[in-house]
Symmetry: C2
Subunit: 167 residues, 2 copies
Amino acid sequence: MALPSTYADRNCSLARALEIVGERWTLLIVRDAFFGVSRFGDFATQLGIPRAVLTNRLKFLVQEDVLAHVGGEYRLTAKGLRLWPVLRAMMAWGDAHYSPGGAKRTFRHEADGGTLDPQNRCSACGGVVPIAETSVEPGPGYTAPDTDPDPVSAVLTQPRRLLEPLT
Amino acid sequence: MALPSTYADRNCSLARALEIVGERWTLLIVRDAFFGVSRFGDFATQLGIPRAVLTNRLKFLVQEDVLAHVGGEYRLTAKGLRLWPVLRAMMAWGDAHYSPGGAKRTFRHEADGGTLDPQNRCSACGGVVPIAETSVEPGPGYTAPDTDPDPVSAVLTQPRRLLEPLT
DNA sequence: CACGATAGTTCAGTGAATGAACTACAGTGG
DNA sequence: CCACTGTAGTTCATTCACTGAACTATCGTG
C-alpha cells in the first residue's frame, strides 16, 4: 500500500499496520495461512489472485516477518500469528452486517467443543483459546457454492484445525 | 477494492468486510472519524489524501452506512462504530511490532482514569468500556513531530474524548 | 532423458491513485 | 451590491499498480 507516512501518521500504529497488511489481498493471504494453506499454487487457486501479485505479496510478507518461507512452504511466524485478533474482529464485523443467516464460519475449542466468540473465548470452558487448539467449520450463515469448488476450497470447507497444513 | 467474489470468498466474511473497509485510506478515514474528524477538509488535511479519492471513499462509506452525512458533517453510524474492535486490534498489532517505545496512543476510561487493553477492558474497573466513555492521549511510544503540525493534527494530539467533534 | 507438477516471471492492456488547478456556493464585511 | 474568504467538492493529465494470459525455470520421478 505504501501509505505516505506523514508526521500525523508516523504516530499512528494503525497506519503502520496498514502499510504491512493493508494492501489488497494481503489479509486474505494471511487468512488462508491460518486455514492451513502454505503453497504458492494453493494460494493462487484459492484466492484467484494474479500470480504476479501473489509473488509480490508473499515476498513482502516474508520480508516483514509475517510469513516464513521454509522448505518451499509459507508459514505464519509468531508475528503473523498475532494477526489472529485482527482477522477475527473483521470477520465478526462482516458476519454481523453482511451475513443475515449468521456467521459464515464457526470456530470451536477442540478440547471441549465449545464455540468461540469474536475474542476467542470458549462458550464451554470460558477461557481464551489459543490458535493451535481451535478448529473451523462452516457456520450457520454458510451457503454451499453452486459450482464445484476447486480441491483446495473443498478441503477448506471441511471442519479442520487451524494451521494444519493441507494434506 | 472490489475484490472479486469467488465462490470461495462468498463464504468468507473477512472478504466481505474487506470489500467495504479494505480499500486504501478507508480505515484511516474511519479512525479519524472516531477521533472526532467530521468535515471534508479536515479529513483531507489530516490524511494528506487526494481530494478526489476522499470524495469517493466518503461517498462509498455513506452508501454502505458506515458513515452518515448530515448537516455537512460525516459521522459514524452504529455500523461504523462497530468497527472499533477492528481498529483497536490493528493498532495493538502495529504497536507491538512497530513501536518499540510502547503504544503510540493510550486509551483511557474517562470515568476512573484506567487504561484500556486492546479489548477495551479497563485496568481500574475491569469492565469493557464503551466508546463514548473513552478518551485518547499520546502514549509512551509517541514521538513529537519535527515540523509544526497542521491545526487539525495539533488538536488530535491533545487528550480528548472519542467521537467529540473538533471545535 | 522425457514428463508432469510446482513456482514463479514477463508483458501488454486497463483501471485506479496522485497532485495540482479549477469550480461552486454560502456567509461576511464594506 | 460586491469583493473576500472558507468549505466542499470536480476536473484532468500523469503515474502507478493490478489483471490475465502465456511463458520459463526447476525439481523429482520413471
